[in-house]
Symmetry: C2
Subunit: 139 residues, 2 copies
């Protein structure tokens, strides 16, 4: 993970970040580009460069299984712990959560195996509660 300190965002970085925050789901790089043509964006690289920095700052996550990006849902701060995502295949909503116990189990495997872990990707596919019509949990 190794987060980088976060200086002021540049103009392009701010634009990309706010596009992701406006969206109610993940956006692909090209979707972001289209969003920002009005602001003067012309080429994919402008988006990819901004995304690269935003990811390094921990403000944005990449969804590998979608080739798309979301703003981190943790309020403001960059969180150290790895994130996990539940992707609804019906409505496209993505829920981010902190997979504490799962991460612990994976870390344990890594330690045991001698694998030097730097980054963990966890993505769940399925249907969210609303789309599957399941009752609310009693918790």
């Amino acid at each position: 993970m190794t987060l980088q300190a976060q200086p002021e965002l540049t103009k392009n970085q701010s634009l990309v970040f706010s596009a992701l925050n406006r969206a109610d789901g993940p956006l692909t790089a090209y979707a972001i580009l289209d969003e920002l043509r009005a602001e003067g964006f012309r080429a994919p690289l402008q988006v990819y460069r901004a995304l690269e920095r935003l990811q390094a700052y921990g403000l944005v996550h990449r969804l590998e299984s979608l080739n798309a990006f979301v703003a981190c849902s943790h309020p403001q701060c960059a969180h150290q712990e790895s994130a996990a995502f539940a992707i609804c295949e019906k409505c496209g909503q993505v829920a981010e959560f902190s997979p504490g116990r799962a991460t612990d189990a994976l870390k344990a495997w890594a330690t045991q195996t001698g694998f030097a872990l730097t980054n963990t990707t966890i993505e769940l596919r399925g249907m969210c509660r609303l789309c599957s019509g399941a009752p609310a949990p009693c918790a």
Copy 2:
């Protein structure tokens, strides 16, 4: 996951599967295509169609973070449980393992949240024991 029953493999499926088995690491679809030009493959779709079936049969896994594919390392059979992968960023080797406890934790989250889970992607990045020069585990 929902595995499909596995009938005889077709010629193309067999060729793709054996290319993946020959390889000592993950292959991209286009790398497979190049491998198989000698056998008459001409177009990406021949590879993608075969991969789709092989994945459905549980014989092949897709590595989302690499856009690449590996043969399942479980001896013969299609295993029901989800698989996890540890990808060495130095040597490119991929280790497949069964993340039992991690999966349990994720299932528990899903149950609690009302998320109807169909598929789980777990991919670890880092350096394998050999590349990081770590000592062998004492286990």
